[in-house]
């Protein structure tokens, strides 16, 4: 039987599940939107974050889900009286909802943090900022993640 593109894709997906990519599809339970909501609630201590002030800067279509550069910015004067005390990043479809929690303060000068994250599949990223007055603000971005072409095979 002549191999078709679909067979190749199935083989590649099977390869993806077995081979060493960062987040294997088989076995690992995927986080859900409910789990992400629970993780956010744990961070805020029950308060519902207000939407605004927080920007999640990430490519709409990433080059590779294994290493995705992300920058989170929060609009804040970062003064002693009014500043961001923490920024947390969450995802909705990796095996775990938490990505990172950053601690900032009045000495930060600017509420902006950059890092590189792993994304198992296309999903929404949400960042939540805790302010010095105890309020919480959030922002999010939708990201498309596809399988890389020509990944590692056996041998």
């Amino acid at each position: 039987m002549k191999p078709t593109a679909i067979d190749a894709r199935r083989r590649r997906l099977a390869q993806f599940a077995l081979a060493g990519t960062a987040l294997a599809l088989s076995g690992a339970a995927r986080a859900t939107q409910e789990q992400m909501a629970a993780a956010i609630t744990a961070f805020t201590g029950g308060a519902a974050p207000k939407q605004g002030k927080v920007t999640v800067d990430v490519a709409q279509l990433v080059d590779n889900g294994n290493t995705v550069p992300v920058t989170v910015r929060v609009a804040s004067p970062m003064s002693a009286a009014e500043h961001v005390t923490a920024i947390a990043i969450f995802n909705e479809r990796n095996p775990q909802s938490d990505v990172a929690i950053f601690t900032l303060g009045p000495r930060s000068g600017k509420a902006e943090v950059s890092t590189r994250i792993r994304m198992a599949t296309s999903q929404k990223l949400t960042a939540v900022a805790r302010m010095s007055d105890g309020s919480f603000w959030s922002g999010s971005a939708d990201v498309i993640v596809t399988l890389a072409a020509c990944i590692e095979g056996e041998g």
Partner: protein
Amino acid sequence: MTIRVLALVLAVGALAAGAALAGADARKPGAAFMGAATQAMQRDDTQNPAMLWVGDGEALWRSKDGGNGKSCFSCHGDARASMKGVAARYPSFDTHSKRVLDLGQRIGQCRQTRQQAPPWRAESRELLALESHVALQSRGMPIAPPREARLEHAAARGKALFFQRIGQLNLSCAQCHDDNWGKRLAGSTIPQGHAGAYPVYRLEWQDMGSLQRRLRNCMSGVRAELPPYGAQELVDLEAYLAARAKGMAMESPGVRP
């Protein structure tokens, strides 16, 4: 020659000259096909993960190793001077072993013959670190394969391989990288397949790797049998790719998706 034929010859000549002047090198490096964030990662040495390997390579360059207690520095001095332009001239024909060698193999040969030290395994951290450090010294310089008959034979064999269909998907390198570059394959944009950024930090690997590792990934992608590291076919392909990218600027050590 009649006036009409002369006019025709002159017209064709002018067209050819015009085309040559327009230059219009249609070749684009792999970086041109990456997203802005990945390009930024490569462009900036303070955030390029490959610089971690370069740091290790700088340390290895100066560490004594092997039976006669020499380091690379013992013979070559400061790599910034002695290795300038070297990576841009690889693969190259080695008169000592009478083979075409890529940079990693050349380092291995130096270790064995000059340092009396065992060569590092292909794709090992040490070898990639030293390769990255050496290749960085050619960054920005044009890829310049030496003019040498036996190297050119290897490139000719490599060219034949480049156009040969392989694997269960029955595809050749040329079909993607000559005929369909710029189009999408599994969500990625197909680059032209110029290899001027190696060794690269590939986001897919979350690791550093050589051109041979990437070629084996391509072959895996078309479900072909993978030649072992160091196989003649891989070196021949590297020789062809260097000839094909001749004149393009080295970007090593690069970042690729």
